[in-house]
């Protein structure tokens, strides 16, 4: 990938430098000007010579002046790094950076740049495993379609008042394939004390386009996204397995930009793990929550376990089907892609997952046992 880009980058910069010279683009010209206009003319040295240049002899000054001039020409990236106007972000500029792994050997902790800690992951894995194996009895189909290396975007349907699908997918892929998954989630997570730290240490990342791009393209890792967002997790039980709008198709655009495939996942089980029966309108805004539900779990476990029961899932069978990766035949690294194309592709992913869900539900004999 890198080798392909090299010639295109060079042509690109030479073109832009030409346009900058002709257009009203001060940077290219400022740089040239530094070459052409001598900083101080000879007459200045006569005018000021002797008084202020105390101990430096003329020869060394002459030499160093030549050096200074030659260093000006060193940097060919200047056009892209000019101050004004700050040029539009070009991915090509960053493409050739070799991402170095964390190099500070003397660190005390193991928290990476995303806030993920392998130590915390290990604890989570041990806590999650019994739930994964015995409570939800997660079953994967087509797991081999998730690539063993390279960036990719996992796109799944979302459900449950406190959605269990994200941790299950993250745990599953890590367990079965040994690859970390960075779960992209709403900004809102970051504002809640304690939750934000736990979530971040376990591999959660804010769903910012830049973050997704960096995870997939620069770090070559897997990112997991739920394009429906809270629209899906807040829906009532009566709407189960009916996918909501897939955002504005941003996830397709990011995958295109990163040059990474989209891998759709159809998840069955999350809807029944914590179904929402009723949404209490007032309390949500009071508590600064996206929604405040009355769940089946509250009614079923609440009397026995109290508030703890609110967080206990029903032991439903989880089935996750991995669909064929979708590759986009577009040039990666562009600032924007045709909106209609993006929306169309997003809609296709949605339809695909929706159809697969219906198929899986047709085959499901029992909610609890699959």
């Amino acid at each position: 990938m890198v080798t392909n880009k090299t010639p295109s980058k060079e042509t690109n910069s030479s073109v832009s430098s030409r346009t900058q010279r002709s257009g009203r683009q001060p940077q290219g010209s400022s740089f040239d000007a530094a070459n052409e206009i001598p900083l101080i003319g000879k007459h200045d040295s006569e005018r000021y010579g002797g008084r202020t240049d105390s101990h430096i002899d003329a020869d060394s000054r002459a030499e160093s002046h030549i050096d200074a001039d030659s260093t000006i020409q060193v940097d060919s990236n200047n056009i892209a790094t000019s101050l004004v106007p700050v040029p539009p972000f070009s991915d090509k500029e960053y493409d050739q950076v070799e991402e170095e792994p964390a190099c500070d050997k003397d660190r005390l902790g193991d928290v990476d740049e995303w806030g993920r800690s392998e130590h915390m992951r290990e604890i989570t894995r041990q806590l999650m495993d019994p739930f994964y194996n015995h409570w939800f009895r997660v079953e994967w189909e087509g797991l081999e379609k998730i690539p063993k290396e390279g960036g990719a975007l996992l796109v799944a349907n979302h459900a449950g008042a406190i959605p269990p699908d994200a941790p299950i997918i993250m745990h599953g892929v890590e367990k079965e394939l040994g690859r970390p998954v960075y779960g992209l989630a709403d900004y809102w997570f970051r504002t809640i004390p304690i939750v934000n730290v736990m979530w971040s240490r376990m591999g959660g990342v804010t769903a910012h386009p830049d973050n997704a791009l960096r995870i997939m393209r620069d770090n070559q890792q897997l990112a997991l996204v739920f394009p429906e967002g809270t629209k899906a997790t807040s829906k009532s039980f009566s709407d189960r397995y009916r996918l909501r709008r897939f955002g504005r198709g941003g996830f397709v655009e990011i995958a295109m930009r990163a040059g990474a495939p989209i891998i759709p996942l159809a998840v069955v089980g999350a809807e029944e793990a914590m179904p929402i029966l009723y949404r209490v309108p007032g309390i949500a805004s009071m508590l600064n929550l996206p929604y405040f539900p009355i769940t089946g779990n509250m009614l079923a476990f609440g009397p026995l376990l109290g508030p703890l029961g609110w967080f206990l899932y029903f032991p439903v069978k989880f089935k996750i089907k991995v669909l064929d990766p979708i590759y986009y035949d577009v040039e990666p690294g562009q600032d924007r892609y045709s909106k209609s194309f993006v929306m169309e592709e997003a809609e296709q992913v949605r339809t695909l997952i929706q159809e697969t869900l219906y198929d899986m539900l047709r085959d499901r004999k029992s909610i609890l046992n699959g």
């Binding site: 001060p26 101080i40 700050v86 960053y94 003397d106």
Partner: protein
């Protein structure tokens, strides 16, 4: 013919350090240091000019001395020490006068280097994990410092646009730590009582003071234009910073944070600025790919910066502050620079 450079804030840490380093560089013939107070460090050949904080005298100096380079380090980012009015005067009005002087007719200025701060990005929950130079803020600026820095940057950008023949370089530094500079964060860590907003453990980035000086000099020497982020590699959690420094925790509740914090400040326990509040919640990361592309190499990672800082603090605690070895005296400085009795070779 060497360069003629003017440095602002020579009485402060950055200006003083840069003037000292440039004195060793034969490329620089004339070094002028401007400051509101006397320099705190011994300068050999740099000339000191006193001015008010808004540099009203600057346009005369630029005209008279034909300086070709201005290094503007006197942009205040430590709001715990200055009033709101003085912050505005120093940062916005000072920069405005400086750039007006640099851009006046007959000015020989061909490069302006400005030290800005990563505070311009703010810190909110909507932020990306890494800010690039062109990444916009997620939310409008609320704090005085951020607004003032944004104003400064806007002035610099306008100047660069109006003066295409001038190389304009600007560096946005992450939070600085080092053996000599004092910031609100370094003050907290040095007295080993670190404020923590309960339930938050943000990822932080620090840059070593020497790396900042080196970077400003790198851009000056090579005349590299552009806007650059500068921070140590990697981000580390605030809890790890506290661990490295062996500090105790001053817990501050997540709600009503500023009220409790200002109470602790009143009691003299901690140092807390309005900019620290969002930072201690959400942290901030700035991408330094671009400055590395220019051939600049940082000597310290973020964790390395913290380690080197706390070692210096420990040494100071053991041996006490060094007595001030240098006091600026006008007559003596003038004598050494201009007396015919001095043998110059």
């Amino acid at each position: 013919m060497g360069r003629r450079v003017l440095i602002t804030g020579v009485d402060k840490f950055w200006g003083g350090r840069i003037a000292q380093t440039l004195e060793q560089d034969p490329d620089f013939d004339v070094i002028l240091g401007m400051g509101t107070k006397e320099p705190q460090v011994a300068l050999e050949r740099a000339e000191f000019v006193r001015s008010d904080q808004a540099y009203s005298i600057l346009s005369r100096i630029v005209k008279a001395t034909h300086v070709d380079t201005i290094i503007h380090t006197f942009v205040v980012t430590n709001t715990s020490e200055v009033s709101s009015r003085s912050l505005h005067e120093t940062n916005v009005i000072g920069t405005m006068n400086l750039l007006a002087a640099a851009g006046q007719r007959g000015s020989m200025v061909r490069q302006v280097v400005v030290k800005s701060s990563s505070n311009v990005y703010g810190a909110t929950e909507n932020d990306p994990t890494w800010f690039r130079e062109e990444t916009p803020r997620s939310k409008p600026a609320r704090s005085r410092l951020e607004r003032s820095l944004l104003d400064v940057e806007q002035l610099v950008k306008d100047f660069a646009e109006d003066n295409p023949a001038t190389v304009v370089s600007m560096v946005r530094c992450a939070n600085v730590l080092g053996s000599e500079i004092t910031t609100p964060t370094s003050a907290n860590l040095a007295r080993t009582l670190a404020p923590v907003i309960v339930g938050f453990d943000p990822l932080m980035q620090f840059v070593h003071e020497q790396d900042v000086v080196d970077c400003l000099l790198h851009l000056t020497r090579k005349r590299i234009p552009g806007l650059y982020n500068l921070a140590g590699d990697e981000k580390i959690p605030w809890s790890e910073v506290i661990n490295i420094c062996g500090a105790r925790i001053a817990p501050i509740p997540a709600y009503g944070t500023m009220n409790v914090a200002s109470l602790l400040v009143r009691l003299g326990l901690i140092n807390f600025t309005p900019e620290m509040e969002p930072l201690l919640r959400y942290g901030r990361g700035i991408d330094t790919t671009r400055i590395k592309r220019t051939g600049f190499e940082l000597q310290h990672t973020t964790a390395g910066t913290v380690r080197s800082f706390i070692k210096a603090v420990r040494l100071k605690k053991n041996i006490g502050n060094e007595p001030q070895s240098y006091i600026y005296e006008h007559d003596i400085e003038q004598f050494f620079r201009h007396s015919p009795a001095i043998v110059r070779n």
